[in-house]
Structures are given as C-alpha cells and as structure tokens.
C-alpha cells in the first residue's frame, strides 16, 4: 500500500502581488481624504465654470467687434443696401459671412465632435483599404515587392499618436545622451569644467535653431536614401532641446552625494563600479528623475513648434495646417488641439511623477 504524502507548506509567504500594495494608496487613506477631496473638486469645478463664462463673454464680445467692422467696411465700399444684406447674413449665422475670431466654447465642442467623427470615418476607410489590398499585398510580398500602404489623410487621433511617438523617441534620445554624460561630468571635476561652457552656451538655444542644425546634419547623412527623414529630424531635435535639464540635474545629483555615504564607501574600500552603482547612482536618482520630468515637459512643449516647422506629421503640423487653410471651423480646431496638447502634457507629467515616486528611496 502506498503511503499518503501530506504536502504541508513550510511557511506561509504572502503572495507576490501584495508587494504592489505598497505603491497604491490605501483605502482608509482615500476615505479619510474624501471631504477635502470633495471640497477641492468643488473649487476646481467652480473655477472651470468661471473660465468658461469668461471665455464665452470674450468670444461674444470679439464676435461683435468683428461683425461691426465687417458691416462698416461693406457700408463704406458698397453702400447701405449691401451693408443691410451683410447684417442680415451675419445675423442668420450663415457660414459664408461668419466673422472670423475667437470661437465660443460650444463651437469648440462641436469641432471636437467633428474631429472625432472624422477619425472614425478615416479609420473605417483605412480598415476597408487594408482588407481590399490584403490579397494584392500578399502577392507582392511573395514576389518580394513592397506592400501598398494607406496614403490617405491622417485623422486628428493619428496626429496625436504620431506626436506621442516622436516625443517618446526624442525623450529616449535625451535619456541615453544626458544621463551617461551627466554621470561622467558629475564624477569628474575636470570633465565638469570641460563641459561647463558647452552646457551654458547651448542650453538656452531655441528649439527652432536646433531643428535647423539637426536638419543640416541629417540631410547630409541620409543623402541617397529616399526615406522620410522628417520624423527622425523632429525626434532628434526634441531630444537635443530637452536633454539639458536631465544633464544638469544628473551631474548635480552625482556630484553632490552626501559625504557620509561617500565615507561609508571609502571605509569599505568599494571599487569604482560598486561605488557608482551602489552608492552614487541610488543617491542621485531623485535628482535624475526631477531632470527627466522637466525633460518630458520641455520635449512635449518644443515638439509642437518643431513639428510645425519641420513639416513632419503630428499635432504641430495639424495646428499649422488648420491655421493656413482658414476654414470656418479652423479656429475651433486649433483650440481643441490646444486643450489636447495641454491635457497630454499634464498626463505625461503625472506619469513621470509616479515613476519618480516609485524609484526614489524617500
């Protein structure tokens, strides 16, 4: 007869997912904070309403000024009959004679809905295209030819995605350049002196000029290739513009490690590699992440300007095209883009803040 084997767990270990709890706010804390949160929410909502009111009032005032000047001009150039016609036209709200000025909140909301609807139309179109070309593309692939890709107009959401991709690549470029250099110049006094003029002189350079510089270099490097370089140019420019905060903060963090920690490393005779990875870098991480957080904000901010100039797809070029084409809802779309840019920037900053809090020791 076989013996029964009783499997007893030796020690109850808490499940691994419980370790995550450390990073999440506790329920009691949330409940205790509810009254204060409700109050803050109320204040925020009230100030938002006030903002909308001021916006509405100023847009209707500007609308009035614009309409007045339009009627006046027609009166002077074409006489009272035409002026009366123009007045009636404006009062009817017809698109052909709409005064072009700051759009009201409701107009902006409409434009937002239009953009979203447009996105669904375009993505349906894209899906249909992919389905239609699937067979042909399979054949072309088998024959070793390049696949046919969708070349239609990108939707607003596509533009947002492109911008996010650009800023992500730009941020990674900044990270991989600024952190290692920052650590090196933080460690060595001579290197710090050698780099100082460089940082001081190039830090304040405008994004536009960086773009031109990157353009000069990338243009020559990609000679002969017919690939689209505008994405590369804008990503590298974003990286170069935004890396300075990380560079300066990293070198500061590395060079200002508490002398007590350095003494511990000295007494233990830690080797240079161990000293950097076990003492200096952990101590500098809060400052490095402060730098990275600034870098993300700056990257997102300069991205719009750079896309606008580099003619690379994204939110920046969306804004520029809307400004150029002067359609009756262009202004409203620009305002929508403004809100989207602001909100994404806010989300990116929150994200970095969360990462910073998780990796810092305090």
């Amino acid at each position: 007869m076989a013996e029964t084997i009783i499997n007893t767990p030796s020690a109850e270990k808490p499940p691994r997912y419980l370790a995550l709890k450390r990073y999440l706010p506790s329920m009691t804390k949330i409940v205790a904070g509810l009254p204060a949160m409700g109050k803050n929410l109320g204040i925020t909502l009230a100030s938002m309403l006030l903002f909308l009111l001021v916006w509405q009032l100023s847009s209707s005032y500007l609308y009035g000024v614009e309409a007045e000047s339009r009627i006046q001009r027609v009166l002077e150039e074409q006489g009272p009959a035409e002026a009366a016609k123009m007045e009636a036209c404006i009062a009817s709200g017809d698109v052909s004679c709409k005064p072009n000025t700051l759009p009201s909140p409701s107009e902006v909301l409409n434009a937002g809905q239009l953009l979203l609807a447009d996105h669904f139309v375009i993505s349906a179109d894209k899906a249909a295209f992919v389905e239609k070309t699937a067979a042909v593309n399979a054949q072309r692939k088998a024959a070793g030819q390049a696949a046919i890709t969708y070349t239609g107009r990108p939707s607003f959401v596509d533009q947002i995605m492109t911008s996010l991709k650009t800023v992500a690549v730009g941020f990674l470029i900044a990270l991989f350049i600024a952190v290692p250099i920052g650590v090196l110049i933080g460690l060595n006094e001579n290197l710090r002196v050698a780099f100082n003029w460089f940082v001081q002189v190039f830090k304040p350079v405008s994004p536009v000029v960086w773009l031109l510089l990157v353009f000069m270099i990338v243009k020559t490097l990609t000679l002969g290739s017919d690939s689209d370089t505008s994405f590369l140019i804008s990503a590298v420019s974003v990286g170069l513009c935004s890396m300075w905060a990380t560079l300066v903060n990293t070198s500061l963090g590395v060079s200002s490690v508490n002398q007590d920690y350095i003494n511990v490393a000295r007494v233990l005779k830690l080797g240079i590699v161990k000293k950097i990875f076990k003492v200096i870098l952990p101590s500098a991480i809060p400052l490095i992440f402060t730098g990275l957080r600034i870098t993300v904000s700056v990257a997102w901010m300069v991205l719009i300007a750079i896309e606008l100039l580099a003619q690379s797809p994204g939110l920046g070029s969306f804004v520029w095209e809307e400004f150029q084409n002067g359609a009756n809802d262009s202004n409203a779309k620009i305002i929508i883009a403004m809100f989207v840019i602001g909100f994404i920037g806010f989300l990116l900053d929150r994200m970095m803040y969360f990462v910073q809090r998780t990796v810092s020791f305090t």
């Binding site: 007590d260 003494n263 511990v264 000295r266 007494v267 005779k269 076990k278 003492v279 101590s283 020791f361």
Partner: protein
C-alpha cells in the same frame, strides 16, 4: 612592550592657510594598546570627529604621523571599522542590504549561504530580525544605530572606532545601547575607541579616559584609568566612590579649561577706525580726474 594598535605622533590638523588658518588639533601624542577600551571625551567643537577620522584614515594629518600596528595609515580600510555619529546608513537599502554591503565587500570569497547566515546572525545580535527588510527611513534612531553597529561588527574589525555613536539618542535608548555595545565588545575584546561628549558614558564603558581640551588648538589632557571591574553595573556605578572621584576630576578639568578659554577671548580687541558713509555724499572726484 608590543606595538600599539594605533599611534599618533606629534599630530596636528589645521584648515586654511595664512591668516585664515585654524588649528583644530595641536600636537597630539597617543598610543592605543591591544585590547583596551579607550574613551576620548570633549566638548562639541573640540575636534573629536577630526581625531577619529585620523584613525580611520578618512583624514590625513597636516603635521605628524598616524600609525596602525606600526605602519603609517595611507587611507581608510574595513579592518578599522567605524560607527558613524549620524549612522550613515544608505537610505535606499534595507537593514539586510546595508549589512550585506559590508559583508559582501569584506568576505567576497564566502559562499552565498554562509554570507547570508552571517548577515542574519548579526542582525539578530542587535535584535533587529523583525525589521530585516525595513529601510532606515522606517526605523527609529535607536534601531538605525543598531543597524550601523551590526554593519560594522559583521566585518569583524580589528579596531572598533565609535564616533559619538549614541549622541543623537534619548537617555533611555542610550543606556540600553551602552550595555549592548559592552556586551558585544566583551565577547572578543577587540581594541575599541569611543569618542563621546558624555563623561559618565566614557567612565561606564572604557578602561581609560582621555579628555580633549576644548576650543581651537586642542591637545589631549591627562589620562584617567578606570579601575572598575567588568561587567559593570550602571546602577551600582552611581554610588561607587572611584566613579565619583574620576567623574569629578574629569569634569573639573574640562570646566576649568573651558572657563580659561572663554576668559582668553574676553581680551579687549581694538576696533578698526571706520566712519559710516552717508548715501549721496560720495564724490566721484576720481572719475572726473580721470576724464
């Protein structure tokens, strides 16, 4: 006589040069013998930390020489372990990792399991097993200092240096830790140096006490041998006539010196003859002359 564990020969330390030169320690001569527990007492600012940094090798003397077992000290080394005044734990590591950092560094050849056992043994010795995975930020001052003690003792230093190890703790925790340090020390009786500003603590723990003169240009005062049998009882100490006598002597010595150095500073200083400048009354004659 055998070579002293630490010997300071005509050591002086100063900062700055010329007029701004401040001498912290002046002409120190000291020999620390094998297995003894030496306490150095002094007021804050008398150069106690400077003195202990000379022994660790973190600081080089401006004049004179420091020897460790007959060899001049060229730099710090784990065999002269130090318990820092402000604990100096690495805040991003847990208690275990803080101790592990020094154990891994000093015993790199040991198998992992042996190191782990060793680390846990020392954490247990300072009664911190429940807090093994906690970070210094989550510990009380006393627990932090215990971690720091475990970190140093786990490397089995040949000489144990303590720089006001209990200075930042409350009186109760202080008393407990004093007894604990003594208990751990008496297990293998390594040479130990305690730097403290508390004369009672010095007498309770040490075999020999040397006061450090207060103020700048500190030198060492006369040494006092403590002839109280170990293990010592803190409560009984208060009524011990020898304890009272030594305590009074050392306190008198320090206080008299402190008064004297204060009196020195009371000399009347001649003030520079300066006249205040009224705004708007300055003439720019030198400018006009130049043009």
């Amino acid at each position: 006589m055998s070579t002293p564990v630490i010997e300071l020969r005509n050591v002086s330390v100063w900062y700055g040069e010329g007029d701004t030169r401040t001498e912290v320690l002046h002409n120190i001569n000291l020999k620390i013998e094998e297995g003894e527990f030496l306490a150095i007492v002094g007021f804050t600012g008398s150069g106690k930390t400077t003195l202990v940094n000379l022994m660790t090798g973190l600081l080089k003397p401006s004049a004179g020489e420091v020897f460790y077992r007959g060899e001049p000290i060229t730099g710090p080394s784990p065999e002269r372990g130090i318990i820092f005044q402000n604990y100096s734990l690495l805040p991003w590591y847990s208690v275990y990792d803080n101790v592990a950092l020094s154990v891994n560094q000093v015993y790199p050849d040991w198998p992992k399991a042996k190191r782990d056992e060793h680390i846990r043994k020392f954490i247990d010795m300072v009664s911190l097993t429940p807090a093994t995975d906690k970070r210094p930020g989550e510990l009380s001052g006393g627990m932090r200092q215990r971690t720091s003690i475990a970190r140093v003792l786990a490397t089995d230093p040949d000489l144990l240096l303590m720089d006001e190890p209990l200075g930042a703790l409350d009186a109760l925790t202080r008393g407990n830790l004093q007894s604990e340090i003594l208990k751990i020390w008496s297990a293998n009786r390594r040479t130990a140096v305690l730097i403290t500003n508390d004369v009672d603590e010095g007498i309770f723990m040490a075999d020999r006490i040397i006061p450090l003169e207060p103020g700048d240009r500190s030198g060492l005062g006369p040494e006092y041998r403590i002839k109280i049998d170990r293990p010592r009882d803190k409560k009984a100490l208060n009524t011990d006539p020898h304890f009272k006598e030594v305590r009074t002597e050392i306190l008198n010595y320090l206080v008299t010196l402190a008064e004297a150095s204060k009196a020195e500073r009371n000399e009347s200083l001649e003030l520079p003859d300066l006249k205040p400048i009224q705004p708007g009354t300055q003439s720019f004659s030198w400018l006009r002359r130049a043009s």
